[in-house]
Structures are given as structure tokens and as C-alpha cells.
């Protein structure tokens, strides 16, 4: 366990030039660095260091100790290993001492485990202390955690739950992040639109493995309750070689290991209600179990007026559940079994006549993913071996003729080996990683649908009798991937990471080589610059691409520069600019088949500023983006469907005593749309064929709204209670989400955002 603790700071630092590092062997001291000592922190440590051997050259060092949530840890001891030099951190987590260059600092605190840091300069990166429970869950990430990319961020669960307008849903809080396309209602796609890319271009991972959907069909909720999430990594681009099958970004959720203390938690709101239980099961095992059910379906029938010509035979409802078991087998091996499952269903008739099958809509979306993982750590070696199985079903029936029923069991074995060396080949903090993964699934598909509307194509009125695409059979999808990377400090201020990922997609018989690299430079005490470039691929496995024999993988080349500035305690500003060149985009050929004739490019810049201090938490993000596509060679460039030039979020939260208050202001551009200038009636089909103007030549107006949230905490006997009121769009700005047309396209109307969305909830922990 001690060894495990020693590597945690490296994981949590995550910035590439971390000074906290694994230290299986005590590094040899080096001559003092030429840098001048930095100014003393505002509040120096109250304790004075014990004298060192006068013959050992030392430098003044200062640093900060924080917890996993970024909060300062006060009164932690910081000791120069092998000496009696010990200081304690002040109330802001800062410490100051003199230590030899290259020496190891041992950081300890009662409430946390031990962490180590290496002295590489006068100002160290933040040293993160974790609780025992966090150590148990975080150590497993060590060999898999993505190298932080420019613009990437790890979302803090508790802080983002404070952000108004999210209903306490951490995944919905993703809309706070620069680069994420915002929409008044998160409907129409189940993924995340990042940096001018389609939802399918980014991957959503839970415990390192892909999941098919991120949101429930109703209620605008993520499929994982926030209390079951340990961390959410948002990597908008430039992700490392251990992740693939995506040409844009990664959203990676890590589920939470159970606490070492047994607790039960219940929460209910107008959207859903759930239970979460966690605790130890023996000395070396912990469990976490969560179950949630929608409650909106209990409310919905009472708010639909009798005059509505609807019959909800199965009221929309959802379930989701999580189970996680963690077992420390011995000092080297840790075993984890985690599972996530969801089930969404609804059936309705757009008539009171439930015999009218032509008016019936039915949908069931469900999946269960089970992952067994074994993590090994011994000396400089660590390994992660996992086997994950996914069973999923998507069933949709519309009217008498249209249907899709797809079942796709998938199995994914994965392993990765990492070796850390404090020194090798004249370099420092050397980390070598290599791994491989196979994803194999068999899709049993029975469908009769219209031709799929792809990005950039005009949305037509649904023709309930159109079953132009029919298929009944099975499709095997097997992808192989292998990767390796090497990271090292060339200089105390320069860290370079380079790697390559290879993928082989069996169905299109396609092999790819994807080199990626990053250079991180600490240009000054508070400034870091990061440069990242790489090649990325997405296999043709999205919707109708499954059935295409002519489509190959899509490609992107990403170039990112990032700048990070930490002017003072708790304050951080990070900015990035990027250019993404997309090629081989899957578009429709003139004969209706799919081909790789599309091109696209996205340019953008992002800014994220955060402040954490005392009772305050503040967040400001802004992103500019311009994303275009060319569908076929020789055609004009057009705007991407989800092109959103401007998006801004400003949030502030204040916490004192039992009360927590917060506000959030959002402002973002509307999405493009294609005006319809006329139509032709196909009299036999009784269907109007639209005559479109230039694709995406119109745009919905800018949207802005203010959200407010108030939380109140109190004790009711042994139960810690929290009540919250989260109100979205308090000044009821009804802006336009999208336009839609009358059946014959002769009239256009705006689909507007909901004027106000209140959410009330109650949580109890006992």
C-alpha cells in the first residue's frame, strides 16, 4: 500500500511536468539549480525547519498541498526524506522549506494518505493528498489516466454539483466547459458535441470503456447519478494514445469506489429518485451500489391536458443502476468489478385510439456493461488488465411499417503496462506505457426505416410509410488496437510525450497508424505552455455506417496550443487555441451510398478561468469556434450542423453555514439551419418533398439565460439532509432552439426553449 501511495501524486498532478512523482527508489541529490528563489508565500508555515547537514547544498522550496477536490490541506507535515526537516502547511495549504535539488518530500496528514514529491525547482506543482478510499480508487487510474491535454480538465463532482442549471447532474455540467456545444435542451443526440465535431466523433467512457448512450431519453439526465461518479475527465482533443476510435474528444467518467465507512443515501426530485449504499465488506473489500428510477413519469400524465390527442400507454420512464466492488487482493494486486445498467422505455399513441397502430411510437433503449479489472503495481511496474462485456438493445417502432431492433453484445479485453523510472537515458521522470485492446461485437439488426438523415442533410417531414432501408441479419464488428508511448523530462521545465497508436478495423479491412505527441514547457513560475499534435481515426460504425460496405474510417489531424496561468492561490486561467483538419468524412455519394468524400476544418479558441477561495467558487468559460464541411469534392464549403461560434458561461457559488447559493449566466450562439424555400407534393405518397436553400445558411438567434440554485443542509437525527431548489432560466427568456415547418413547408415556426425549469430535490445521508 505504501508503494501505491507513492505514485498517486503523479496521477493527480497530471500536468506532465509534475514534480510529485513515483519514487520507488530514493533519487540521488543533484547540484543546486541556478534558479533564484521565489518570493515567500503570503502566509509562511508556522513551523521552522530543523537544521540540515550543512555540507548538503539546498534551495528554498515552496509548494501547496491540496485534496482531490483542489481544496488546500492545512496542517499537513512535509518532511525532507531522510532528514529531520519538517514543516507544516498553513491554512491555505502552503509550505516553505529548504531542501536539496532532487530530494524527496514526504507529505502526510491525518485524514489522508501519504504522498511524495521530488524537488525539481523552487516552486513545486500542487501535491494532492487522497483519502484511503480515494487512494483505493485512484491508484487504479495510474496506468490508464490520459496525459492531460491542452484545454483538458477534470471536473470536480462536488463543485460542479454546486453549479446552477445542471439539476445536480455532473454530466450536464459538461456544458460549462469551453468547446462543448450548448443547446437549451440536450435532446437530439446522446453524445457530446465537442469542438465542432459530430457527437459520434467523441467517445464517452465509463471506467475506460465506451457506453452507447450518455443521457436518458427524458428528464435530460445522465445515465450515471452524480454520487456514483468519482471524476469526470473532459479532454476536448489531443488525447493520448491509450484512447482511440474517436476523431474529436473524450469524456471519461470514473465510477467511485465505496467509502471505508458504511453510509446510505437517498435522494428524490421531480425528475428521479434513487438510493446509494456503500461501505466496507471485510477488511480489504468495499462496495458501492446505486439504483435510480425516474419520477417524472409519475408527474407527466397529470400535466398533459385531456384535450391533447395523446395516449401514453407506457409513460416514459427510466431505471439505472451501478454496482462496484473493490478488493485489495494483496500489496500488488487490486481487483475491481464494476457494472452500469440503464433501461429507458416509452410507448405512446398520438391519438386517443389505442387500436390505431399507425399512430404508435415505441422505444426501448437499454444496456448493461460489466467490467472486471485487475490492477498491479510493484516497484516501477504497473499493469492494468480488464475484461469488459456490453449487452445493449435499441428498439424503436413507429407506426405500421418502421422499426429498428438492434442487439449488440460486445466483449472487450484490454491491458496496459507502465514502467516509471525517475531517471533513464539521461532523462528524468520517464514513463513508458504500452497496451492493447480488442473490441468485438455482433450486431443483430432488424430494421425497416427511411434513409438516415446525416449531418448537413435537410430534415424532412417524417413519412410513416417510408421503409427505403431494410435489413435483417447480423454484422460482426471487430477492432484491434495497440499503443505505446514514452514521456520524459528533458529539462526540469520541459516534458515531452510521444507515442503511436495502431488500429485495425476488420470489417472495412483498414489499418491505421496514429502518431501523437505533446511538449509541455514551464515558461515561468506560474506559466505553462503545452503544444499537442496528433492523428486520430473513427471507424465507420455509427448508425447506417454499420451496413455500409463502401465507407472507411474518418480521420482528423489535431493541433493544439495551450497556456495555463495560476496567478494566486485557488485561481487558474487556462487558454487554448486549436486547428482540426478533418478528412475522409463519411458523406452520401450521388448514388445514395456512403463514401469518404467529405472534408472539414475547425478553428477555435477557448478560455477557462476558475477561482476557489473561502466560501466562493467561480467559473468563467468562453469558446469561439468556426467549423465547416465540404461534402463532396468540388462542392462549396458550408457550416457544420453544430457550429456554435460563441459560448460563454459565468457561474458563481457561495457557501456559508447551512446555506449555499449560486448563479449561472449562459450566453451562446444559436445553431445553423437550412431554410426551405418551397416543396413538391408527391401525390401518390401524400408527401411533400422540400426544396432547400443553401445548407445551414440561416442561424437561430443567440440564447441567454440565468439559472439560480439554493441548497440548505440540516441534521434530522442521524440523517444529514439537503434540500435544493434549482431554477433554470429564471427570467424566462424563450429563445429559439430550432425551426420547424408545416407539413407542406409553406409555413415556418420556431421551437422555443422552455420558459422556466424548476427542479426541487431532497437528499438524505445516514
Amino acid at each position: 500500500m505504501k508503494i501505491l501511495r507513492r505514485v498517486v501524486p503523479l496521477l493527480m498532478a497530471g500536468a506532465g511536468i509534475a514534480t510529485a512523482q513515483p519514487a520507488p527508489e530514493q533519487p540521488a541529490p543533484e547540484p543546486p539549480a541556478p534558479e533564484q528563489p521565489s518570493p515567500a508565500p503570503e502566509q509562511p508555515s508556522p513551523e521552522q525547519p530543523a537544521p540540515l547537514d550543512p555540507s548538503t547544498p539546498t534551495v528554498p522550496v515552496r509548494g501547496r498541498v491540496i485534496d482531490a477536490l483542489g481544496r488546500p490541506v492545512r496542517n499537513a507535515t512535509v518532511t525532507v526524506e531522510g532528514t529531520e526537516v519538517t514543516v507544516r502547511t498553513d491554512r491555505d495549504g502552503w509550505f516553505r522549506l529548504r531542501a536539496p535539488m532532487g530530494s524527496t518530500l514526504v507529505v502526510d496528514s491525518k485524514a489522508f494518505g501519504t504522498a511524495l514529491a521530488t524537488v525539481t525547482g523552487d516552486v513545486l506543482d500542487d501535491i494532492v493528498l487522497l483519502t484511503e478510499a480515494q487512494l483505493g480508487e485512484t491508484i487504479t487510474v495510474e496506468s490508464e489516466a490520459p496525459a492531460a491535454a491542452p484545454g483538458a480538465a477534470q471536473l470536480d463532482r462536488k463543485e460542479l454539483q454546486r453549479v446552477p442549471g445542471t439539476g445536480g447532474d455532473i454530466v450536464r455540467a459538461l456544458t460549462l466547459m469551453p468547446g462543448v456545444v450548448n443547446l437549451q435542451l440536450p435532446i437530439g443526440f446522446s453524445g457530446v458535441v465537442i469542438r465542432g465535431s459530430s457527437p459520434q466523433d467523441s467517445k464517452v467512457l465509463i471506467d475506460d470503456f465506451e457506453v452507447p448512450v450518455l443521457f436518458h431519453a427524458i428528464g435530460f439526465r445522465a445515465v450515471v447519478p452524480p454520487e456514483a461518479i468519482a471524476a469526470l475527465d473532459y479532454i476536448p482533443g489531443g488525447f493520448d494514445v491509450s484512447m482511440g476510435r474517436a476523431t474529436s474528444g473524450i469524456v471519461a467518467l470514473t465510477t467511485r469506489a465505496g467509502n471505508d465507512k458504511r453510509t446510505t443515501q437517498a435522494e428524490v426530485s421531480l425528475i428521479d429518485g434513487g438510493l446509494l449504499a456503500q461501505g466496507p465488506a471485510g477488511e480489504d473489500t468495499r462496495y458501492l451500489f446505486a439504483l435510480r428510477r425516474s419520477t417524472i413519469d409519475l408527474v407527466l400524465p397529470s400535466v398533459i391536458p385531456d384535450s391533447a390527442n395523446l395516449s401514453l400507454t407506457t409513460v416514459p420512464r427510466y431505471y439505472d443502476g451501478q454496482l462496484r466492488l473493490d478488493h485489495q487482493y494483496n500489496k500488488q494486486w487490486k481487483l475491481t468489478l464494476s457494472s452500469i445498467a440503464t433501461d429507458d422505455i416509452f410507448e405512446l399513441f398520438t391519438t386517443k385510439n389505442e387500436e390505431a397502430k399507425s399512430k404508435r411510437f415505441y422505444n426501448r433503449t437499454r444496456f448493461v456493461r460489466v467490467t472486471a479489472a485487475a490492477r498491479y503495481k510493484h516497484g516501477p511496474w504497473s499493469a492494468n488488465i480488464a475484461l469488459s462485456g456490453l449487452a445493449q438493445q435499441f428498439l424503436f417502432e413507429s407506426g405500421l411499417y418502421q422499426k429498428i431492433n438492434i442487439r449488440t453484445p460486445t466483449i472487450t479485453p484490454r491491458f496496459e503496462v507502465t514502467r516509471n523510472e525517475p531517471k533513464a537515458l539521461g532523462l528524468k521522470d520517464v514513463v513508458w506505457r504500452t497496451g492493447a485492446e480488442i473490441q468485438s461485437g455482433r450486431g443483430s439488426i432488424d430494421l425497416a426505416l427511411p434513409v438516415e438523415q446525416r449531418e448537413g442533410e435537410v430534415m424532412t417531414q417524417p413519412d410513416p410509410e417510408d421503409t427505403s432501408v431494410k435489413f435483417n441479419g447480423a454484422v460482426w464488428v471487430t477492432d484491434f488496437a495497440a499503443w505505446t508511448s514514452l514521456a520524459a523530462n528533458f529539462d526540469p521545465r520541459v516534458r515531452v510525450t510521444a507515442g503511436v497508436r495502431t488500429e485495425y478495423y476488420v470489417r472495412p479491412n483498414e489499418f491505421s497508424l496514429q502518431p501523437r505527441a505533446e511538449v509541455a514547457v514551464k515558461v515561468a513560475d506560474h506559466w505553462k505552455v503545452r503544444l499537442s499534435a496528433g492523428a486520430f481515426r473513427r471507424p465507420p460504425e455509427y448508425n447506417s455506417e454499420f451496413l455500409s460496405k463502401t465507407a472507411d474510417s474518418e480521420r482528423s489531424q489535431q493541433n493544439i496550443i495551450g497556456l495555463q496561468y495560476e496567478p494566486r492561490d485557488g485561481a487558474r486561467v487556462q487558454a487554448s487555441a486549436y486547428y482540426t483538419d478533418r478528412s475522409h468524412l463519411i458523406t452520401r455519394n450521388m448514388d445514395g451510398s456512403l463514401g469518404n468524400n467529405g472534408r472539414g476544418k475547425t478553428t477555435g479558441a477557448e478560455l477557462l478561468a476558475t477561482y476557489r477561495g473561502g466560501p466562493w467558487f467561480a467559473w468563467l468559460s468562453y469558446s469561439y469556434s468556426h467549423s465547416t464541411r465540404i461534402d463532396r469534392p468540388g462542392e462549396d464549403s458550408r457550416l457544420f450542423d453544430f457550429d456554435q461560434p460563441h459560448s460563454m458561461n459565468a457561474a458563481v457559488s457561495w457557501q456559508r453555514g447551512r446555506w449555499q447559493l449560486g448563479g449561472r449566466f449562459q450566453l451562446y450562439s444559436g445553431l445553423p439551419n437550412t431554410p426551405i424555400t418551397g416543396s413538391v407534393l408527391d401525390s401518390d405518397a401524400n408527401f411533400y418533398i422540400p426544396v432547400p436553400d443553401r445548407v445551414n445558411s440561416d442561424r437561430a438567434p443567440i440564447h441567454h439565460q440565468l439559472d439560480l440554485r439554493v441548497d440548505f443542509n440540516w441534521k434530522a437525527g442521524p440523517i444529514a439532509m439537503t434540500a435544493f431548489l434549482d431554477v433554470q432560466n429564471v427570467y424566462m427568456n424563450e429563445s429559439i432552439v430550432a425551426y420547424f415547418y408545416s407539413y407542406d413547408y409553406s409555413q415556418r415556426a420556431a421551437f422555443k426553449s422552455l420558459p422556466i425549469i424548476p427542479s426541487i430535490g431532497l437528499r438524505g445521508i445516514f
Binding site: D684, F740, S746, A750, F751
Partner: protein, 235 residues
């Protein structure tokens, strides 16, 4: 995107858009070929049911029409004695058209006819835009348009001078069809429920227009079209 469409379908009724069952709206409601399928040498005439805002729906002969496809059969359409007529060519030309369209030997040949009513303004705001529509006449085999059997408020309703229905009542409407037939009930008086089902309901609220027209259009899988129009009044 399906959920967006569904949500729009559920809440879109609040938008200020004419419903598909609204007769008081400028459009071509249906184009009819009588008969819809003809053998070589036989003739089929083209007309349409047209709705105009503020006026009664009417059966009209389109002022303009032309063959859209196949080009080799463009001269099978002619205007004669106030009617557009399609004459099915001989089997030799049909065989050539099948080759042109990539059809199997002996398969009926679809002749796509485009029609336009030039005097109708397109409601999107583009002045003098024609309202085009296409209708397929099948050549090489014979079929007739369907014959309608309709009931209004439980009573046989052949074409009548005027129907009178009670306001604030769900008036049942019924038309006998095959399961695969496409049905459209339309009205300019009251609100239609289940307008695209064989069994629909008409309800006239006090604030609705109290007099107008009721129509039903039935389309068969084989291209057959039939309609019926009644003046209607609520009292």
C-alpha cells in the same frame, strides 16, 4: 433527432401553423389519374383537388402539366378538350421505357406527370411561385380508382348538399378502406382528430368557424385516388 421530432410533434400543435387537415389553406390536396393504371392504347385523365384559403375546395384541371419521367414518353401527355390525357403507348415503346428506367420485362411503367396551378401564390411569401405536384400514372396494366363508402355521425354520407353536425360534440367520421390505404380527412369547420385514420372525429367548438367544408381523400397502394367533399355547418 427522433426525440426532437417527437417533441415537436407533441408540442408543435401550439405553434401557429396550419394543420394537415385544414382545408382553408392554399395547396394542391391530391392529384388524380382516372384510371391510375392503363394498358396500351387506353387513356387516363388528370385532375386535382385544390384548396384555397377563403374559398371552397374544388376539383380542377391543372393549367400546366408535363411529363417528368421517362423522357422517352413525354409525348404521351396531351391537352385535349379541356382535359389532360395520358395515352399508354404500344408495347414496343413501353419495353424501351422499361430499359430506360431499368425495370424488369413486363413490369408496369411509371409515368411521372408534374402539374402546376400558376395562379396560386405560395404561402411562404415568394410571390407567384407555382405549387407543383407530381402524380404517377402506371402504364402496361389496368386498375381503377377506389369507390368510397363513408359515414358521418353514423349515417351513410354520400355526396350531399350539406351536412349539419352538432357543435361541442365529437362527430364520428368513417370511411371503408383497406389497411394499406392512406386516408386524409380535412375540414375548414372545426377541429379534426385522427385526420389520417379511417375513423376520425370532428369537433366544432363555439369559437370555431361554424360553416365550411368537409372532405376525405383516400389513396391506395396501386395509385388509386378518390375524394369526397361535403359542405358542412354546425348548429
Amino acid at each position: 433527432m427522433k426525440y426532437l421530432l417527437l417533441l415537436i410533434a407533441l408540442v408543435g400543435c401550439d405553434a401557429d401553423l396550419d394543420e394537415p387537415w385544414q382545408l382553408d389553406h392554399d395547396r394542391i390536396i391530391a392529384v388524380r389519374a382516372t384510371p391510375p393504371r392503363i394498358v396500351s392504347g387506353a387513356e387516363s385523365s388528370i385532375d386535382a383537388l385544390v384548396g384555397r384559403k377563403g374559398a371552397r375546395p374544388a376539383e380542377e384541371v391543372p393549367p400546366a402539366a408535363q411529363v417528368v419521367s421517362p423522357e422517352s414518353l413525354a409525348n404521351t401527355l396531351r391537352f385535349d378538350a379541356g382535359r389532360w390525357l395520358v395515352t399508354a403507348p404500344d408495347e414496343t415503346r413501353l419495353a424501351a421505357a422499361r430499359v430506360e428506367l431499368g425495370l424488369m420485362p413486363g413490369a408496369p411503367v411509371p409515368l411521372v406527370v408534374g402539374v402546376a396551378f400558376l395562379e396560386t401564390a405560395f404561402p411562404s411569401g415568394i410571390p407567384d411561385e407555382p405549387v407543383p405536384a407530381i402524380k404517377t400514372v402506371w402504364l402496361g396494366e389496368a386498375a381503377d380508382n377506389p369507390v368510397l363508402t363513408t359515414e358521418v355521425d353514423g349515417v351513410d354520407a354520400p355526396t350531399a348538399p350539406e351536412l349539419v353536425v352538432a357543435p361541442l360534440t365529437d362527430v364520428p367520421l368513417s370511411v371503408a378502406t383497406d389497411e394499406t390505404d392512406d386516408v386524409n380527412w380535412l375540414t375548414s369547420c372545426g377541429t379534426m382528430r385522427d385526420f389520417d385514420l379511417p375513423q376520425a372525429y370532428l369537433r366544432v367548438e363555439l369559437e370555431d368557424v361554424q360553416a365550411g367544408d368537409l372532405a376525405v381523400v383516400v389513396r391506395t397502394e396501386r395509385g388509386g385516388v378518390a375524394w369526397r367533399i361535403w359542405p358542412i355547418r354546425a348548429e
